[in-house]
């Protein structure tokens, strides 16, 4: 705008006006990699959030501008949960960190009998992350949230210097509504109750483990990652007396059953031959010396149901696409207290303990 170019004052005003309009247009993320400025809170942050994240999730602009979202509540009680996802690698057969973050938090809500209302999404991004990777994760989050019918309603994004995080971490919180009469609690299990399991075990942990290149075992194993609120609702409708629901994630079925036994002060006996394990998962576990009952699942449901409602609960599970292979795997006993006993296929019995140590770090 110098005197040499001979622009008039009117031309200058016109330019400024156009710049002002451009500023109001939707921001665009042009970079191929995440830089520290994307976490600055300034313009680059807006480009990332309004140019990539919000449109990918179908969030209205207004939602990214406010500090918190206001949700209407009718009757009932609020379930509120949070979970953080650091799985490595980010993508694995059957899922990725994005779908896992949606399913995991929905499942935490569903296990209390809640109907999920809304999720939050917090990203920690490592400087240098390829935007294409973030785009793929966002697409997966959007698909998982649409399929589950639970929307992302609020979020946050931070960028940390290279080496201070591993590519991408996600925190999701969720709120849900619990019906007034409903109280599910592991402490509610009583002797005689049946133990139901919605399908085969061990796929998620083994799929993630095999996706890491260090182990050169080739097997077609996909994570079972799935949102369980539909299945949980079906079980609760068919068996309103259900004592508790649990998704056997880290530590596997063995750890979840031990938590129930200890909370209720009861014993639990299960039959090894009634627990379905895919041959590929069994093979990988035999090679690695792992027990499938200690391996994480992300799309399976354990239910403790009074005996007179067990058949109805089983039928409801089997009628649902995520519970086709459901089975009654065991029973709650009064003795031995605080302990889970497995009747082995060979005909013996043994203690099934919680997982000690971590055979597979960073699987979710």
């Amino acid at each position: 705008m110098s005197r040499e170019t001979g622009h008039s004052l009117a031309a200058q005003v016109d330019r400024l006006g156009r710049a002002q309009v451009a500023r109001r247009e939707r921001p665009v993320l042009r970079e191929a990699r995440i830089t520290l400025s994307h976490g600055s809170g300034g313009k680059a942050s807006r480009n990332l959030i309004d140019g990539l994240i919000a449109p990918a999730l179908g969030m209205e602009d207004a939602l990214t501008q406010v500090d918190s979202v206001i949700l209407p509540v009718t009757t009932g009680r609020i379930a509120f949960t949070t979970d953080t996802y650091v799985v490595s690698p980010l993508f694995f057969p059957g899922g990725d960190i994005g779908s896992l973050a949606v399913h995991g938090t929905i499942n935490d809500l569903a296990m209390t009998g809640a109907r999920p209302l809304a999720l939050s999404l917090g990203f920690i991004l490592e400087e240098g992350l390829e935007v294409e990777v973030l785009r793929r994760v966002l697409a997966s989050i959007a698909a998982a949230s649409a399929a589950a019918g639970v929307r992302i309603q609020t979020g946050d994004t931070k960028v940390v210097p290279r080496g201070k995080a591993d590519a991408l971490f996600i925190n999701t919180s969720g709120v849900g509504l619990v019906a007034e009469h409903l109280t599910l609690s592991p402490a509610g299990a009583v002797p005689g109750d049946r133990v139901l399991l919605s399908g085969s075990v061990g796929e998620h942990g083994i799929a993630v483990m095999l996706a890491r290149e260090a182990l050169e075992i080739e097997a077609d194993i996909r994570s079972d990652s799935a949102a369980l609120h539909g299945l949980a609702a079906a079980v609760l409708e068919a068996a309103p007396g259900t004592r508790c629901l649990k998704d056997p994630t880290r530590g596997g079925v063995a750890t979840s059953l031990n938590e129930i036994a200890r909370a209720a002060g009861t014993g639990i006996a299960i039959e090894e031959e009634r627990i379905r394990v895919l041959p590929e998962v069994r093979g990988a576990c035999e090679i690695l010396g792992l027990d499938p009952l200690h391996i994480a699942n992300e799309g399976k449901l354990l239910a403790i149901v009074p005996p007179e409602q067990a058949a109805a609960a089983l039928a409801a599970m089997r009628a649902h696409p995520l519970g086709r292979d459901a089975a009654i795997i065991g029973e709650v006993l009064d003795q031995p207290g605080d302990m889970v006993v497995l009747r082995t296929e060979a005909g013996g019995s043994r203690v099934l303990d919680m997982l000690v140590g971590d055979p597979l770090p960073r699987i979710c």
């Binding site: 895919l278 069994r282 690695l288 302990m339 013996g348």
Partner: protein, 383 residues
Amino acid sequence: MSDRQLRFVDEYRRPELVASVTREIERLSAGRTVRIMEVCGGHTHSIYRHGLEDLLPASIDLVHGPGCPVCVIPMGRIDDAIAIARQPDVIFTTFGDMMRVPSSGGSLLDAKAEGADVRFVYSPLDALKVARDTPDRPVVFFAIGFETTAPSTAATLLRAREERLENFFIFCNHVTIVPAVKAILDSPGMQIDGFVGPGHVCTIIGLRPFEFVPARYNRPVAISGFEPTDILQSILMILQQQARGAATVENQYARVVRRDGNRRALELIAETMELRPYFEWRGLGFISHSALKLKPEFAAWDAEARFEVPGVRVADPKACQCGEVLKGVLKPWECRVFGTACTPETPIGTCMVSPEGACAAYFTYGRHSLINRAAEGRKAGVP
């Protein structure tokens, strides 16, 4: 456990087969106590995992032997490992089990939390890959185990030499099983009537190294596989030998073990390693010619030659009775600290660390039958 059968696994877990073998065991051992040591930790693990103690008659007393590689490593060697792991730039690689074994000052897991670069690997070749990928840092592999794992360490060492990798080192703690079995046979008050022999070790060394057991000590040996029916059949073989008044080395695991072992694997060990004059075993003390070290021509890859280590003998914690458990003198639950101060989460002794350790196997899988027996005053059945 699944719709489809897993070959070489399911056929050895069939309950009707198990029942017929246990009936015969009961008949042949009626009216007396037969003490049988399973030498290998893999057998200990399998016995508890499948609940076999519940299926055996009270006349069979299983004694858990010293064949758990993690359990027999003395504390001083863990101190040495941690000293190496703490050296500047070192990447220390180890099997996962070894991470939690306590030294005189914390475990490798603690050293990792304090900043040492300790990584767990599934094979020595994984460690070699780390060395290839980080050429500017020394990478050490914590080699442990019996003759079963020594050949893969040897093959990895030869590969490192072939690739002229100058940043790969082996901290060799390989041990040999036969001198330990002999030490047990020679120990005062020895009451073992027969041995379930280590199937995986014999895959490498063959049957001959165990022939001294029947020849010199008149005790039957059955080299065994690891599935429930394998172990039960091996116990039956020992009883049948006794009934015939014989003592030999029988090969129950003939589908895998050859009489002369694996010649190529033995050559790999002989090419790269030699016997140490003596080596300390946890609980058993110093046993001569019971461990392997790298030959002098491989000194360039030998962590003991490259790094300063304390190399001192560290006495086991006073409360710990792993030694008695490893010798079969004490049952796991008879140890002073079993299940109280010493648990799989906070192990004091090595036997509580590895899933093959008698104490960990018993704590994790076996308590139930003890509780049953105590409660009912008889041998436990299915609950």
